[in-house]
Subunit: 457 residues, 3 copies
């Protein structure tokens, strides 16, 4: 490629050296901190061996199935969802893979730190980690993957590395505040989706430039769309597990599963209606909507899937948010790009931002409703579901604003730093949305986009 | 495209408006009926909170894992299995997704209605739905997806919508009759596979025309075949869960898992033998067989996987039906298309029709055998497995005919209606087996098939 | 194709007839032996029906989830991992599918035979098989799939058939010896990975020839790489289940899950560092490494994931072996091909050979450490984890050598036989790494590789 001047090459090499050194240091620090501070669960060593009755086995039996499902969502689901771009499949899968693995490690320590503060433990004591610590790591990785969705195609590996280290600190700050506030957020509607989306959009504001906006490679391919549907479907199918993983066992867990599933069917139906209603030529469906807005019903249940909301309202919530999400893709995403210079590649604002916000508000309403209708829950259940008691609605409202604020402010600071970092190994115009910038590509790697008319049919 | 006359466009637009209005009305009716009639399980609200000991938690722990697996089969498995066509991937995945989501919602109500009749409950009372209700919805969606397999490439969205509403009513009619008859059908061999296949074939008879039969786009692509194998493999791997999901716990569930798995290995081996024996040039394997006939061993166990059939016979059943299924693809499918004008796109007759029928007959024999050999089962187990007692073989034989009859008669009526509906937004010759009829396609959407010789090698 | 001379055709037809006859005989023998010898678990028939309390139900509840995950790894994971080749997708998926299904059947009998010897049972008695028998079958299939990785693109179906019958006999010989020695190997680090890799490499030595080494079709395609990543990710996500499936319940199982997961994150991070450090142009990532070396962290935990190794060391092990694995791909694989004439298509030496060996050695060290530090385990736990007591380190060391020796000697004998078998239906130069040798291919099957420069970017 004629633009591969020696200067560019050398900038990419510098980026590489810094990337490798930082990632290596990250890993060494992880190993040291884990070695001196993290241990398996307290009774790990001196238990009499279990007959399936030990508490740790119960934890494994109850949680590991959900852990596995969420694992599939983070690594396979998010990874493949982003493969729709015609020339960016390696990067979508590769960076998702690396950054999620990093975040999973890093999260245990970050949350360990906040958790020790919550429990007033000295940091000199060992931190005993459990299946739930690992699950939290996956949730945090989910949040980072959501943010990545807005940046897809516009980042260098080094920028991703930076975000993978910084964003978890903010993610768990939110979780820490939430614990202090006694707000509830069963499937991470506030802490994962709302925070992740607005963090990503804020960062995106710094990384959107005219080269990215005018890149012809920001386009789907036919087989890429099929790969993306594999991601979509696994996210869709596993979403009930996502929202129910840490729900209190019993009825709340059952409701979390069923409400999420029903809500997802609602958003799927809404997607097909609205996508066709506002569609090309007046009758054609759009794959972008099917890949994304069908999932909005899972996000909108993110805060309150486990509450005593009946099946009817659960479907309604999915239906409404699915419609809103498609409208967002049609009207809002181009508007944000044009007016605010925020080029949201995957449309995370439509899939995570708005649904997360609506879900958070719905949870405030549901909490207020529960407080005023004491017969909705038994006393014991009320206590478990609403840890802040009569103050619950206010606490959750506060937490919604905090999640949003931490996301936006953190995103602005991160975005500013990432913009500077992006100068190292800077992407040329042809490298936006293209794997060849940082990957050895196969011989049938798609040729440069020549403006083929996608509307020939 | 020169054939895009204004007239055609306007017909497609009319189809779209009717589609959107009907789907919207469907969703509104669902929300209203769910809101007034459906509630979570009875004790949902006033239980003392569970310590993992509540009945609802037991239901979640026992059933949710199977639900998740069946979910993967319906949405991912069936969806991707149909992606083999070179130009029909969006439609295969999209309609599967939409219709299955619809059916999952609709099923709860339809079964609720029949179930209330069974239990002599007044419809004014709430219907309390459980994890099993949702699972039934997935089973019903499986049945609709089977029928869809015969129609692949020949339908408009509006026709699919009609089928998604009508077929569940017949599916649950079968289940209702089965409950009344006390027939058994652990993995839906009769109610899902046999019914679904003959319903689909009957509808197919109405929708097969010369445009469909002479379409050059009814052809696989290389990457499409790989995607389809992902569907095949997930169906194959999850099939033990499908047949064991509602098996009585204990030995019956264990046998359902193991018999299904062993039977699947048998049909896989048979597929490779028979595919090569009757193959092109005398030695070449055919992907169509590998994608489909390998699964016949799961279908054939659909009625009786949980019975006390030993591992040897289970493998034999899979082996025989796998052979039959491949022979069906080679000889019967072309014959049905030529002589009876039934163009069975996915070959559901070979994968679901014949294996379902053979499995149903095998179950009758197994029941008769059990009745005459009292030492095969303990008294308690006999009572659970054969609810009709000494009458079981006759009841299951009757149910086989009923499932077949409901499928064929229902399919004829539905097919007649769907043919009329198909006049709205009628498919042109170039739109058969082609996404561009109803989807915005990517720029690398495969060009029109030019009769490249697939036998060049 | 001009090289399709009648002579070649007839040789392929002969291969086909022998293949079909052998596979048919295999299946008939299986059915006979299963029918006369294998039964479901002893109490299968005369139990009072369970209230979720029967031992068989407990087995299902505890094991089936892991069985399902390992099932996904064997059929989907290994199958798709090998789809990276541009023209060999059908074969990768097809042979994986067939051979794994065969091995799953065959394993129950082979292990039944050794197991009866271990238990001093007469073969005239029924062999009662359980969920664990089936799981062992999948483990054995994993071993065969590993070996297949080295041979990918260089074998005829008949050769694969031979290997699928012979390798399990050796695999279970290893397991038999291990049981006698009381060595431990929780995730098959020695018996699956180490044995499978060196068996495959030994066979590979016989099958590597200049036609294979100079084939231009031994190259990845862009979409093939994306498919392969689906295989990689499912292997990665399910690996904790693989290593924990038969771990003693309680803390050992929890540690097996967590150590494996953490180790995998370590090898993932290492892969990205080392791949870039030694990379093309000094800054480009290589998909081959991401597809394979990321998994090395799971292999290295194969022997000892369940021991009381803390999280820090688990990450370190993954990080070190991930680095070694990438270096193996860069330096060792070409060296083995050039100097030793072992063309290891998938690089199984880097993914299974070396990590298996390192993991085996680490287990010897861990056992020695445990023996010298009695406070690491409670007495009860020590007894379960180290069945050979104070002799454990020596026994595991011995087993490492035995696994290696059985693999290499067995591989040499098998390779010699397979080379002779390969003369039937011999692959021509153009048929190496190409589906059209034994499959009917779709019309868009990639054209012959014309030496397009993969480094154009």
């Amino acid at each position: 490629m004629s633009s591969d001047t020696p200067k560019k090459l050398s900038s990419k090499k510098v980026e590489n050296i810094i990337f490798c050194v930082c990632l290596f240091l990250f890993q060494v620090v992880m190993i040291i901190l884990y070695s001196v501070w993290v241990r398996y669960d307290k009774d790990s060593n001196h238990d009499p061996l279990p007959n399936g009755e030990s508490p740790v086995q119960e934890e494994v039996d109850n949680l590991y199935g959900y852990f596995r499902d969420v694992n599939i969502m983070i690594f396979f689901g998010f990874g493949f969802l982003m493969v729709f771009l015609r020339r960016y499949g390696y990067s979508s899968l590769g960076y998702t893979f690396l950054i999620s693995a990093m975040v999973a490690q890093w999260s245990v320590l970050v949350w360990g730190f906040y958790d020790s503060m919550l429990e007033h433990k000295e940091l000199r004591e060992y931190y005993y980690f459990t299946m739930e610590s690992l699950l939290n790591g996956l949730f945090c990785a989910g949040s980072v993957m959501i943010s990545y969705g807005a940046l897809l195609g516009k980042v260098t590996p080094l920028q991703m590395l930076f975000m993978g280290i910084v964003e978890p600190v903010l993610f768990f700050l939110n979780m820490y505040i939430m614990e202090r506030l006694h707000a509830f957020d069963v499937g991470g509607g506030m802490t994962i989706h709302l925070f992740g989306a607005y963090y990503g959009l804020s960062v995106c504001w710094f990384l959107t430039n005219s080269k990215a906006k005018h890149s012809k490679e920001n386009a789907a391919s036919y087989s890429g769309d099929l790969f993306a549907m594999a991601g979509t479907l696994f996210l869709w199918m596993m979403w009930p597990s996502f929202n129910a993983a840490i729900a209190p066992r019993g009825h709340p867990q059952m409701r979390a599963l069923a409400n999420t599933f029903l809500s997802l069917t609602g958003s799927t139906i809404a997607t097909f209606i609205v996508s066709r209603l506002f569609s090309h030529y007046g009758y054609k469906l759009d794959m972008v909507h099917v890949q994304n807005s069908t999932l909005a019903g899972g996000v909108v249940q993110g805060v309150m899937a486990h509450l005593n909301v009946n099946p009817g309202p659960a479907i309604s919530m999915g239906f409404i948010i699915g419609s809103v999400s498609v409208l967002g893709y049609i009207f809002l995403t181009p508007f944000l790009a044009r007016r605010f210079n925020i080029q949201d590649t995957c449309g995370i604002h439509n899939l995570h931002g708005m649904p997360g916000l609506v879900g958070s508000i719905a949870a405030v309403i549901a909490a207020a409703h529960a407080i005023n209708n004491p017969d909705l829950y038994s006393a014991a259940e009320f206590k478990v579901l609403f840890p802040a008691g009569d103050d619950q609605a206010k606490r959750n409202a506060a937490m919604t604003f905090i999640a949003l604020a931490v996301g936006i402010i953190g995103g602005i600071i991160s975005g500013f730093c990432m913009k500077q970092i992006g100068k190292i190994g800077k992407l040329t115009k042809e490298e936006y949305f293209s794997d060849h910038a940082f990957w050895v590509v196969a011989s049938d790697y798609p040729k440069e986009f020549e403006g083929v008319d996608p509307h020939q049919y």
